[in-house]
């Protein structure tokens, strides 16, 4: 079985800057993998390359063994890649119900239906309601997304990604900016993601990373620096020097 995600010698240059430098790594199906690194290490560029927002300068990206390097973001989404965003990327004027109805409809391939009223397909409505329930959004399901509490927006962010029925889920700092008391909701949600979904977590919150990940890759200056189990990474003196040491200090 091919790995869920594989990158081969991935490079990205912006003029003289090289935020991604010869990154070769693979995620096995069902992996719980975290990508960490100090600020400016190239994590966001990496996720933009994986999702197709940016085109790599060189190198290939394979999803389930299929070369997706030249595919646009929506085509990658259709192949089972979903992501969340570090800064909420939601639809402010839509309600969570409408938002998830849209996402479920796109996933089901009915986005081109110009006639049947949205939300009237039973199986799709059932999925929307299931997502509302699973992500604890029932109390706000009919409110404009723009006025939701931040924690709820973060949950909706993940719910939208899950509405795409991903086989690979890229979580870009899901806990960023979430107040301490709402953090356990995010953590609980992330911990209970379906086992068959491959998850790549990009995160600053070390509690979340070490609780969640079974493997960790450390990115420094655009290149993969260390990869290993959480224990190995935590003990690695080089990682301590560039990253954890910095965080402790």
């Amino acid at each position: 079985m091919p790995p869920a995600l594989e990158t081969i010698a991935l490079n990205k240059r912006f003029g003289g800057i090289r935020p991604t430098s010869d990154v070769t790594f693979r995620l096995e199906t069902g992996a719980r993998h975290a990508l960490i690194g100090p600020n400016g290490a190239g994590k966001t560029t990496m996720i933009n390359l994986l999702t197709g927002v940016l085109r790599p300068s060189s190198g290939r990206i394979l999803l389930d063994g299929r070369d997706i390097t030249d595919l646009k973001p929506h085509a990658r989404a259709r192949l089972g890649m979903a992501r969340t965003f570090q800064i909420n990327q939601l639809f402010g004027e839509l309600t969570p119900l409408e938002t998830l109805s849209f996402a479920v409809s796109e996933q089901a391939g009915t986005g081109w239906d110009v006639w049947r009223p949205a939300g009237t397909r039973r199986t799709q409505a059932a999925r929307v309601i299931e997502l509302i329930e699973r992500f604890g959004l029932a109390d706000v399901m009919n409110a404009r997304t723009a006025i939701l509490p931040y924690g709820k927006q973060r949950l909706l962010e993940i719910a939208v990604a899950m509405a795409c029925r991903p086989r690979l889920l890229l979580l870009d700092e899901p806990a960023a900016g979430v107040p301490e008391e709402e953090r356990h909701d995010i953590l609980a949600t992330v911990m209970t993601l379906p086992a068959d979904v491959t998850v790549l977590l990009i995160e600053h919150d070390m509690d979340l990373v070490f609780n969640f990940a079974r493997r960790i890759s450390v990115l420094v200056n655009g290149a993969l620096f260390v990869e290993g189990s959480p224990d190995e990474v935590a003990r690695d003196p080089r990682v301590k020097a560039v990253y954890l040491g910095e965080a402790d200090g």
Binding site: Q89, D113, V114, A118
Partner: protein, 340 residues
């Protein structure tokens, strides 16, 4: 989540397209005007095609977030297409000519949509403006076909369905224009409440996320732009057919700019904005120009400034509080029902 809450959710999802009493009232009033206001059918005709034209702009601006200062390009093409078809007796049935004019405008919309895909708001303003100017000059230069600056003379519109003659009081013209506008409104309403319409609204809010969810953003934009162009073309054709004349003025910048004004007066993104805006705009124009023939644009300008001050954040949605109050979106009612 209780079974009750689940039922509420399902109902909220399915109930987005429900007819609101205000909508029924609006259309009943429009229908009544054909009988109750026979002396005003000429201006009502103008209101009706302007409403359709503004509805067309609402499809791209209010739903897909595309700003345009050149929507008159499609209106004008439709106007000339209908005029030429009638003048040269190529198509004698007005309804068929209307359809063909709409298709011609839709084709132009499809072709120019690829230009509109590029860039953000300012680029789009310039591109749409440029296309309209280009068409105006084309029509001006090819006077052998269009009559140039003199306008397209000698258009005779045959009776509708071979039976109803367009009379000088505009009775036939009004019923015809209103009926076409109503039918196209129903179609637009249906489309905008569909999964497709919902996806446009999501795209308007956040195109990057909509694409990440799997929506082919560019193709949907092309589709709605083409549709809106067709609507605008039909509005232009209605103008030609009900006045038996058309001129370069149909492509003018003022027409595109006024249209934006009409939609802003009525509020964008809920389909009725263009219709209400058209009524208010035409009536204001009519009554103000009677009082102050030269200075009426001043009052329209003042109104625009007032609207902008009220709706500082998003002028196209300045009527949103009113609409929420009217319960059109039914959100609060729904939320209350869920809590209870």
């Amino acid at each position: 989540m209780s079974p009750q809450a689940q039922a509420d959710a399902a109902q909220l999802l399915a109930g987005r397209a429900r007819w609101h009493p205000f909508e029924v009232l609006f259309w009943l009033a429009a229908a009544a005007s054909t009988v109750l206001l026979p002396g005003h059918h000429l201006i009502l005709t103008e209101i009706a095609w302007l409403a359709l034209f503004a509805l067309s702009l609402d499809l791209i601006l209010g739903y897909a977030g595309i700003v345009s200062l050149g929507h008159a390009a499609f209106f004008g093409l439709g106007a000339y297409a209908a005029g030429l078809l009638a003048k040269h007796e190529l198509v004698n049935e007005p309804l068929l000519a209307l359809l063909l004019a709409g298709l011609a405008a839709a084709l132009l919309g499809f072709v120019t949509s690829f230009l509109v895909l590029r860039g953000a708001d300012l680029t789009r303003l310039m591109v749409t403006l440029g296309v309209a100017l280009l068409l105006r000059e084309l029509a001006n230069k090819h006077a052998w076909l269009t009559g140039g600056a003199d306008g397209l003379q000698g258009v005779t519109v045959e009776p509708l369905l071979g039976r109803f003659r367009f009379d000088m009081f505009g009775h036939t013209g009004y019923v015809y224009t209103l009926a076409v506008t109503f039918v196209l409104f129903l179609v637009a309403r249906r489309i905008m409440n569909s999964s497709f319409g919902l996806s446009l609204q999501a795209m308007k809010e956040n195109p990057a996320r909509a694409e990440a969810v799997g929506m082919p953003v560019s193709r949907r934009l092309i589709a709605v732009y083409t549709l809106a162009a067709g609507y605008a073309g039909i509005a232009g054709a209605l103008l030609t057919q009900t006045t038996a004349f058309t001129s370069l003025d149909v492509f003018s910048f003022e027409r595109s700019a006024d249209l934006l004004l009409v939609l802003i007066i009525g509020g964008a993104g809920y389909l009725y904005g263009g219709l209400i805006g058209a009524v208010v705009f035409k009536l204001l124009q009519d009554s103000l120009s009677t009082i102050t023939p030269q200075y009426w644009p001043f009052w329209i300008g003042l109104l625009l400034v007032a609207i902008v001050l009220v709706g500082r954040e998003r002028i196209t949605a300045w009527t949103a509080p009113l609409r929420a109050f009217a319960g059109r979106l039914d959100r609060r009612r729904g939320a209350a029902a869920t809590k209870a």
